[in-house]
């Protein structure tokens, strides 16, 4: 799977996202949801971002696509194929070079037939061609042709999933972003969905998979990024994640692994700090057994044993 000729498709550096909010009185204030996040995805590679729900993972996806709400403010850089993306570039790239696979049928127009939605907007002259492509995709993902005439509310969970993937496949994209593509699916179906991603990656796509279903993700991923309280604490290869997790770098990653139901199911004390209430320095410090005063300083991401980690004590 690892290829020396991998080209970085998406490079995120020190990305911070904050929202302007009003609190109960009269003051407007900034609420930081993503904090100095860095991540690189190369062609042919699946990077899985895992972390507990509510930690702002979807925002990461939305910021790459440039579809954050208006009161959001972005700092840091996002590069696509080596070029920095501004609002305009994102607008031009999304739906063409970058495909997005949303979570559920909620993301489909309730009053539009499936077939039309899968195709999306096309030029009149290309309608026929796109229709052919859609049919082909439906066959590939085992959707009956009659599904094209249904409305979203008539779809089952599995059908909806395959419909959404077909939608993403309509145009050849270099980067595919999937936000929680498996919840609510039966195990076999979820596995099948993930295999589809593997195929896509093997054909040269870069895939960013956001999920909390780590067990499944491990089977197809190349790299795992551990997301916690709005940032990525560790980026590691899948191999390091196997077994007892001895080769993991960050104390949170180890704790995360131990907390999984199929492992020891040992939960970490305390809870994740939330946006607006983030501590200075290491975000995990409050719950970390190894913390010292030095953890309160600014912690930078550093390379370690082929992965990356945001911890001063990791070895």
């Amino acid at each position: 799977m690892k290829d020396i000729n991998q080209i970085p498709i998406l490079e995120i550096e020190n990305l911070s996202i904050s929202f302007h909010m009003y609190n109960k009185g009269m003051k407007k204030h900034k609420l930081e949801m993503i904090h100095k996040l860095s991540l690189t995805i190369s062609s042919g590679e699946i990077v899985v971002v895992v972390g507990s729900s509510g930690s702002g993972k979807s925002l990461l996806a939305h910021s790459i696509l440039g579809i954050l709400p208006q009161n959001a403010e972005i700092e840091g850089t996002i590069k696509f194929c080596g070029k920095e993306m501004g609002t305009l570039e994102k607008e031009n790239l999304r739906g063409k070079e970058i495909s997005f696979i949303p979570q559920s049928v909620e993301y489909l127009d309730p009053l539009m037939k499936i077939g039309k939605q899968v195709i999306g907007v096309t030029k009149k002259s290309e309608k026929r061609k796109q229709q052919e492509k859609r049919k082909q995709l439906f066959r590939r993902y085992q959707l009956e042709e009659s599904v094209a005439k249904l409305y979203p509310y008539q779809l089952s969970g599995g059908m909806a999933r395959r419909v959404l993937i077909s939608g993403a496949m309509m145009r050849p994209a270099k980067l595919i972003i999937a936000d929680e593509p498996t919840p609510g699916l039966q195990k076999e179906l979820a596995m099948e969905t993930l295999k589809n991603f593997r195929e896509l990656a093997d054909s040269g796509c870069a895939v960013l998979l956001i999920t909390h279903d780590i067990d499944l993700a491990l089977q197809v991923a190349d790299q795992i990024a551990i997301f916690y309280a709005g940032t990525i604490l560790e980026i590691t290869s899948v191999e390091d994640f196997m077994g007892e997790g001895k080769s993991l770098r960050h104390p949170y990653s180890k704790a995360f692994l131990a907390a999984l139901p199929q492992k020891e199911f040992q939960s970490i004390e305390g809870s994740q700090p939330y946006a607006g209430n983030l501590p200075k320095g290491c975000l995990f410090a409050k719950r970390c057994p190894n913390r010292t005063e030095a953890c309160e300083g600014e912690i930078e991401m550093r390379s370690l044993r082929g992965g990356k980690v945001r911890c001063i004590y990791a070895e």
Binding site: S18, F19, H20, M21, Y22, N23, K24, G25, M26, K27, K28, H29, K30, L31, E32, G54, N71, E269, G270, S271, P273, Y274, A275, G276, N277, L278, K286, R287
Partner: protein, 293 residues
């Protein structure tokens, strides 16, 4: 270790950096409420304290167009339209307040009872609401006023008694929603009495909805009183009422006495507009969901 934090209740600022501290929307909201109240209270007080002579009959000064001495002109009996309008508006405000009090009390009782008792009582209240809303409001007002023999008493009763249905629905829906919410269910299970739950959960939640409803009900009441009097079912010609002024002005409009209609109407419009604004702003202020735009 630390206390568990909660995403909803513990959102403190990362940095104390208020943006546009003075001119953000909340300030504007308070300002608009202030202006509206100022206008209404001034009109009410001035109207109530006005000497009748200031809008008395003066046949030497009939049909004077707006000028410095009579900014709103005079009517066919030489009465000063400015003072008459103020007087009339203060009467309208009194009627509006009366209607608001009566209708909102009815709505509060009906809404709470329907939501708390449920079953057939809820059904009955809903049926009554549908009944009252099933007939165009103006027609209902005409019928009630007709029943009381067309006059001041009839129109006051009609306006006071017909503005409860919408507010009843609002209150009922709000109480129902809170009643079935998890934290209220939880407090019951924790052994809190009905009174305690009502005091600590129901009251603070329903009150804002109710208040906004009352404020928004007020302009409706004023408009309906004016309309019904205009049609001839309300106050008689001797009573200073906005409907009377406007229906008189209609007789003279063909001969070009436009000021008799324009200025009193603007005064009424302003009162209604300001109350609407206060209501809408209050709604936005009290509804935290829309606070982040």
């Amino acid at each position: 270790m630390n206390q568990p934090t909660n995403i909803f209740w513990n959102q403190k600022e990362t940095e104390d950096q208020p943006i546009d501290i003075f001119w953000n929307r909340r300030r504007k909201t308070f300002l608009s409420i202030g202006i509206a109240l100022l206008y209404l209270i001034t009109m009410l007080l001035v109207g109530l304290l006005l000497r009748p002579e200031s809008y008395g009959v003066n046949y030497n000064a009939k049909f004077i167009p707006p000028c410095l001495k009579h900014p709103f002109g005079t009517d066919y009996m030489g009465r000063d339209m400015f003072f008459r309008s103020v007087k009339v508006l203060s009467n309208s405000i009194v009627i509006g307040i009366l209607a608001s009090i009566v209708s909102s009390l009815v709505a509060l009782i009906f809404g709470v009872v329907a939501a708390m008792k449920g079953g057939p009582i809820d059904g009955l209240v809903n049926w009554c609401v549908d009944l009252c809303m099933g007939i165009p409001h103006i027609i209902l007002l005409i019928l009630i006023s007709f029943m009381f023999g067309r006059g001041g008493k009839g129109v006051m009763i009609a306006v006071a008694l017909t503005h409860w249905p919408e507010l009843t629905r609002l209150v009922r829906a709000e109480v129902l929603q809170i009643r079935s919410s998890q934290y209220v269910q939880a407090s019951y299970r924790m052994g809190k009495t009905k009174f305690q739950v009502a005091k600590s959960h129901m009251f603070p939640q329903v009150l804002p909805v109710f208040l906004v409803g009352v404020v928004l009900l007020f302009p409706h009441a004023i408009m309906h009183e004016a309309a019904i009097t205009f049609l001839g079912f309300g106050f008689s010609a001797e009573v200073p009422a906005i409907g009377v002024i406007l229906s008189e002005s209609m007789k003279h409009i063909a001969s070009g006495k436009w000021w008799m209609a324009v200025f009193p109407g603007i005064m009424l419009l302003l009162a209604v507009l300001l109350f609407d604004l206060v209501g809408e702003n209050l709604k936005r202020l009290l509804n935290p969901n829309s606070g982040n735009e």
